[in-house]
Subunit: 371 residues, 2 copies
């Protein structure tokens, strides 16, 4: 997520560009990146057998997928934030197809990162080096818990990989690729938008910021501001009534752990999406903001730790594991929820420092082309 | 531990007292408190059968024991810090006997507090109220883990109680009571000390502070200053070589969890003892320091959480527990180590604010009489 193109070629001499020039410049650049990355991601995947290679997807395919995801996120974000300037039907269809591809492709790399995160945490907790041992140093359950997590995450990755292989040969992907080819040469704008001064874009970016700020107001930032409030483990946020009433999840107004934790994390995950949208909107306006990138990384950490905690809780429900294995998984689970809490604390300190760096001018320089 | 007598009756009119007057005033007051509390603690204990009553020791006996421990700690601390002014042999013997009584009596209340701490943590972690559920809300292992911890801690308390009952009727306790009776009327000072100006005592108190400051310098305060460094769980402090070589504990330069955690906590426990000594030394000088009391409470929390974590780790080694029980114990264990980390973070912020409030004057007012 540290992949912000910071290569803005805008200088003092940049001409004042129109709305059409700015948004088209950005989207054609991103569509070009999409089309360049696609064969690497698809071709590699298509040429391999269905089973996951020992080392996971090859480095080239992984890099291709990462590039593809990067472009998909940015195009989708721009189509959302600047929806007013596009042909409406086209923009909505495009966003829907890009979301499908994002959900499809993001899973495998996410599982790979989760595996690395959890095994590193487990190794650190069970480290026996006298220079910096962990609280589970030499625990008999540690190698078993490691093997269990590794096995379950590898299985999940193999499944995700097979799904990707199937879908990457689908007509749906070909149609999306055609759509991006068209976008790379011609952006379907609303009639009359093209020649307008570029000031309309910062105004729409400011709306994205407004949505972000409003959602942040709903976060329990004052709770998160005190370190070690136990917020990720104890005293989670209130679970809304609709959730309580899900019959499979709760009984008599009580909640279970899965729904409690999901309800606690949900507002933070929503803010993460809004941070990304604001971040990409600033990129479109040619004014990427490092502080916003930092917030995005912090909430990325929050999401990854929260997802990893769910994986551990699920692994702990595996039948016939030993008590020692379960005990180690309990420690690792709490450790990941502690990471969740730490990310919230960090966010609570980073957010107030954010200066909304929207360009002051009515017109903004043309968006940089990413290369 | 919030029991500092703050009732100093010293005012601007207080006469300048001699060393003998100050130290004798303090010790006779504490010895008096000891003798008043003893029958309540012993008499109650002696009149009850060996088994622990359902609600634990009776409230009166518990209060008596608390008073007794308070006096024991203060007399022992004064005898250590101001050793130079006492008859040496008498002071050493007295300290040794007071330590014996402290170790004997402190166990049962500590187990009671540990039980309350762990069950509260477990209840909070497994809370199912939608207004503030825990990460283990409704977990099947929670009631089992609760019952296991409660059973093991009650058993430990019953054992500690029986030991107390035996020893409270011993000749050793009678000898110590006689010693305190003597102290209440006559403090055995070194020849020549009695009439000296009281300035010798602040100088000795300053030495106690020096020992504290030197030990604090050895703490990893810079690590603890950053919240969520994972210090209580991961990357514990270096385990000294002597520990590594304990044959039962380690093999081939590796350490196990028990010795790693013990080595990590040891310097903090040492500092706690030195904080107490400095705190009581200031009381003797008639200048109790609320900041020092705060540090004492913080390190008390550190010690209690560290001890509770050991109890949970031990409980998790119980044969034939279910994986769900073990899993919950793992979470509770990590939660207590998180409390350890939180206490270190708090100490790291409180320590630099401590102003060593020793009286500036050569003579100090007579110590307040407590009670």
């Amino acid at each position: 997520m540290t992949d912000v193109p910071m290569t803005a070629r805008t200088g003092p001499k940049a001409a004042i560009a129109s709305t059409g020039e700015i948004i088209s410049g950005y989207l054609t650049a991103q569509a070009g990146a999409f089309l360049r990355a696609l064969p690497q991601a698809v071709g590699e995947a298509g040429s391999r057998p269905g089973a996951l290679p020992a080392g996971g997807a090859s480095a080239a395919a992984a890099a291709g997928t990462a590039e593809l995801l990067r472009a998909v996120r940015r195009i989708g974000g721009a189509l959302h934030t600047f929806a007013a300037v596009f042909d409406r039907e086209w923009a909505e269809e495009s966003r829907s197809e890009l979301r499908w591809l994002l959900n499809l492709l993001a899973q495998e790399p996410a599982l790979l990162r989760r595996s690395a995160r959890l095994l590193a945490a487990l190794d650190s907790l069970s480290e026996t080096d006298p220079q910096g041992p962990g609280m589970l140093a030499g625990h008999t359950g540690a190698p078993k818990a490691r093997a269990l997590l590794e096995r379950q995450l590898t299985l999940a990755r193999t499944r995700a990989h097979s799904t990707v292989l199937q879908e990457l040969r689908s007509a749906r992907l070909h149609a999306l690729a055609d759509r991006m080819t068209l976008l790379a040469s011609d952006v379907p704008l609303q009639g009359g938008v093209s020649g307008q001064p570029g000031g309309a874009l910062p105004a729409l970016a400011a709306e994205a910021f407004g949505a972000l700020a409003a959602e942040v107001q709903r976060l329990p930032l004052s709770r998160a501001a005190t370190p070690y409030g136990g917020e990720g483990l104890h005293r989670l946020g209130t679970v809304p009534a609709s959730r309580e009433l899900e019959p499979s999840r709760a009984r008599d107004g009580e909640v279970d752990a899965d729904s409690a934790v999901a309800a606690d994390d949900a507002p933070w995950h929503r803010v993460r999406i809004l941070v990304k949208r604001a971040r990409y909107a600033l990129e479109v306006c040619g004014a990427p903001d490092p502080e916003l990138d930092l917030l995005d990384r912090t909430l990325h950490r929050h999401q990854e730790a929260a997802d990893a905690a769910v994986t551990v809780a699920t692994a702990a429900r595996t039948p016939r594991i030993t008590p020692a294995t379960a005990y180690v998984l309990g420690v690792v689970h709490a450790d990941q929820r502690l990471e969740v809490e730490a990310a919230r604390y960090a966010f609570g300190h980073q957010w107030p420092k954010l200066s909304l760096g929207l360009p002051e001018t009515q017109g903004v320089p043309p968006a940089p082309r990413m290369g």
